[in-house]
């Protein structure tokens, strides 16, 4: 059994310091690792990244993150990544990590991803250069995620993105902005590997649960969706370890 905690869209700055910490201090009693699905900061500055590292670092369990669109706002994503990695947090972008947890190997492949839309209402690689560049960006992120997912050797495989891989977890958002919230190509990438769980954020007004066309469970862990510091998901359950309540909860 492995338990992973997950949240996204925490948008940390000075004014958020300390808000998550009490719940995060309890995290090692509840989960074996924490995954954060992008939008770690408000404007993507190094100062904000350091605030994120202060709030989410030093937990006693591995922390693995991807960046979100907010984390690109100041065009400092490389410096931001270094600041976060300096706190011992793993930042994925078209890459993967394998964690040894409770005798199991948890593989996590991550990318920010990009928009593009979903079947019946998606952007096409056609027309103006700007539109072709947009769709090429969509396809590049998704193709890389697929490559990385297929390359990981582990006991349980998790895909971590900021943008959504399916439309079901966008329910609640205006239909008009679905193409800016995710793309079907991410779902195809997730289905190209034996993925056990896909986690994303970005859609603050979306829904929590969905599945890819291939049947992989998808969870939107955007903070305004889950409405708590993090959710906890259990993978590789043993038959006698299915328990809906968390230890230490009165």
């Amino acid at each position: 059994m492995i338990r992973i905690a997950a949240v996204g869209d925490v948008h940390v700055d000075q004014d958020v310091l300390g808000r998550y910490r009490p719940a995060l201090e309890e995290l090692p009693d509840r989960a074996d690792a924490l995954l954060v699905a992008g939008d770690l900061t408000r404007h993507g500055t190094v100062d904000e990244a350091e605030c994120f590292a202060t709030e989410f670092g030093g937990l006693g369990v591995p922390v693995v993150v991807v960046l979100g669109n907010h984390d690109h706002q100041s065009d400092q994503q490389d410096e931001l990544t270094k600041a976060i990695e300096g706190a011992g947090i793993t930042v994925l972008e078209g890459s993967a990590t394998v964690l040894e947890l409770r005798g199991h190997r948890l593989g996590i492949a991550g990318t920010k991803g990009f928009g593009g839309g979903f079947a019946g209402a998606c952007a096409s690689n056609f027309g103006e250069r700007e539109m072709k560049d947009f769709v090429a960006t969509t396809e590049r992120y998704a193709a890389r995620l697929g490559e990385v997912l297929r390359s990981v050797e582990c006991d349980a495989l998790v895909a971590l993105t900021h943008y959504a891989p399916v439309p079901e977890t966008l329910a609640g958002e205006p239909l008009e902005i679905y193409p800016f919230l995710g793309c079907y190509q991410l779902g195809q990438a997730i289905d190209s590997a034996p993925t056990a769980l896909a986690l994303h954020g970005h859609a603050h007004h979306g829904s929590e649960r969905g599945r890819t066309p291939g049947g992989v469970p998808v969870r939107n862990v955007a903070h305004p969706v889950i409405k708590q510091a993090y959710n906890v998901y259990q993978l590789l359950s043993d038959s006698d370890q299915v328990d809906g309540e968390l230890a230490g909860v009165s």
Partner: protein
């Protein structure tokens, strides 16, 4: 003078593009004589800044703020993925 039909769009762009706000998750709904703001932000200071910015940029608009601050308590349940 902002046309009514553009008001929601202008408020949405202000909330996203203004450096002091940078929020994409705020809903803007017009009522007869009011604009109702909804959604969740990470601190009370951010909620207050949103209302301040809109009041400053659109002084003729009556704002009703239903924006909440997202809770950060630890979870009490675990979901088994199968």
């Amino acid at each position: 003078m902002t046309k009514q039909i553009d008001l929601e769009a202008e408020i949405q762009r202000l909330l996203t593009e203004n450096d002091r706000v940078a929020e994409q998750g705020i809903t803007v709904q017009r009522r007869d004589h009011q604009v109702v703001l909804g959604g969740d932000v990470e601190s009370g200071r951010r909620r207050d800044e949103i209302c301040r910015q809109i009041t400053e940029h659109f002084p003729d608009v009556e704002i009703v703020c239903d924006i909440g601050v997202t809770r950060t308590q630890a979870p009490s349940e675990v979901e088994e993925i199968s």
